[in-house]
């Protein structure tokens, strides 16, 4: 963790795709338990920032540190739970639970511990029916709920949620925010363009930056 207590530290983040500058000179510090909304219209660079923190995208300039580690390094990836582009991030011919068990096996060295964590999350998020269904038979909202469950595996210190409520019904939205409430030490970076999400976050960063 940084000397200022920040769990996530973004300094001068810049990301270009060819000639297009998607994110320009973003500075952001997030402390444990803080929820920050990345708020802005589609295509404004919110998801790009999340990807830079998740380590699947390298900044063109600037730096991102998670828990003192450079984003993308193995220890940083252990600290981050990400729900990015959910529609295309699961194995379609496997059930939700089988998918979660697979990702748990990467997060947990002990297989039984991983299985317990998956079953606990299925119960907590009330997604037993979704977990029993093959992904290619799930709706977008169902897959989105599985994406949250996967992001919560391993009790990560930093949660990256990309448009997490976009396709959810009111009950599922309530369960999502409830899950975040039950993890008061977890910092969350939430990309959204919905005003109602803003009310449940501590801070807002408006995009494009």
């Amino acid at each position: 963790m940084a000397s200022n207590g920040a769990l996530l530290s973004i300094e001068g983040l810049n990301r270009r795709f060819g000639a297009k500058e998607v994110v320009r000179s973003l500075d952001l510090s997030v402390v444990p338990g803080q929820r920050v909304a990345l708020w802005g219209p589609n295509g404004s660079g919110k998801s790009t920032v999340l990807r830079c923190v998740a380590g699947t995208l390298t900044p063109s300039a600037g730096s991102v540190h998670v828990g003192g580690y450079l984003a993308g390094e193995l220890p940083a990836r252990r600290l981050v739970g990400a729900s990015l582009a959910q529609e295309r991030s699961f194995y379609l011919r496997l059930s939700g639970r089988t998918n979660l068990l697979f990702f748990a096996r990467i997060r947990y060295d002990d297989r039984r511990e991983g299985t317990r964590a998956v079953d606990a999350l299925i119960e907590e998020l009330e997604i037993a029916e979704i977990a029993a269904t093959r992904i290619d038979r799930c709706s977008t909202g169902m897959v989105q709920q599985l994406g949250l469950a996967r992001a919560l595996l391993g009790e990560p210190s930093v949660l990256l949620l990309d448009e997490p409520t976009r396709s959810l019904d009111a009950d599922a939205r309530g369960r999502l925010w409830g899950a975040l409430e039950r993890r008061p030490q977890a910092a969350a970076l939430i990309a959204t363009h919905l005003d109602e999400d803003l009310n449940l976050c501590d801070e807002r960063v408006s995009f494009p930056v």
Binding site: L74, R77, L94
Partner: protein, 275 residues
């Protein structure tokens, strides 16, 4: 910025490798007919070479101790399956992950480069071994190929060292797919060319000298020679196994390093989440 997937690497966790293998098995199993169709393809493949052998059954070429051209070719087919799985399996899996969109979700997890590379390649390799065993069984039971001289310890030893040696090429080809995306054409060309100059389906004696020279330094050449020697001569595979082991020891770290660089390049280019 430092490399997110640093080298030197740590030893892969067995649990992660087995999770990837299990996942690939479950996906493969979900296509119910794939195993049966694969076996059918194997029978047809052997039949083609059986009748080619019947058409041209006299040869003066060196068949590595094989009693007939069909015996020579059937072993070549079986071995080629394993070698193609070892050299092209990872590239194939990477491409599938790109197309289904799961590569980003996977690389966002705390998974190391060797775990990713060997985990993604392992099911294909294991499945290739099973297919090869089935081909050998078919050749023996239905097509009269004799394994009376076979040294099975030697056969397995050379097969495993071949897998290690070819896996190093496979990991490099996987890195190519990460960067180039449509790298399966490159992968297919490389594996097919290696088979061509190494005596997969015909003796290398029939090749022009310059192609024989290229083939003589290919790990596939040692693999085919060693495996045929073990099967048909009951020995003489030791030198090939040593050569393949050396190739694996040198090649695997180089392959993992290339794969690591391929991932870093994809992260810089922002293409991990792209088709």
């Amino acid at each position: 910025m430092t490399n997110a997937f640093p080298f030197p690497f740590s030893l892969p966790r067995l649990g992660v490798i087995t999770a990837l293998v299990r996942r690939d098995y479950l996906v493969q199993r979900s296509y119910r007919l794939v195993f049966a169709l694969d076996l059918f393809y194997g029978v047809v493949n052997l039949l083609v070479f059986y009748f080619i052998s019947k058409t041209f059954d006299e040869t003066t070429a060196n068949l590595n101790g094989a009693p007939s051209y069909f015996a020579f070719a059937s072993i070549g087919i079986a071995i080629t399956i394993v070698l193609q799985a070892a050299s092209g399996g990872l590239a194939h899996r990477i491409r599938e992950e790109q197309l289904t969109g799961t590569l980003e979700a996977l690389t966002a997890q705390p998974i190391t480069v060797p775990e990713l590379a060997f985990g993604l390649a392992s099911f294909q390799f294991g499945f290739g071994m099973l297919r090869a065993a089935f081909y050998l069984l078919l050749s023996g039971v239905f097509f009269g190929v004799s394994y009376a001289q076979a040294d099975w310890v030697g056969f397995v030893t050379v097969l495993l060292t071949s897998g290690g040696a070819l896996a190093s090429i496979g990991v490099i080809l996987g890195a190519g797919v990460l960067v180039l995306k449509r790298g399966e054409i490159l992968t297919g060309a490389v594996t097919f060319a290696m088979g061509l100059v190494s005596g997969a389906f015909f003796p290398v004696d029939v090749l022009p000298p310059w192609l024989q020279a290229i083939g003589s330094v290919m790990p596939t050449r040692f693999a085919y020679d060693g495996l045929r020697s073990a099967i048909f001569e009951g020995g003489g595979w030791g030198g090939d196994a040593i050569a393949l082991t050396i190739f694996a020891i040198i090649g695997l770290p180089i392959g993992v390093w290339c794969f690591s660089r391929g991932l870093s390049q994809s992260r810089r280019a922002g293409t991990i989440s792209q088709y």
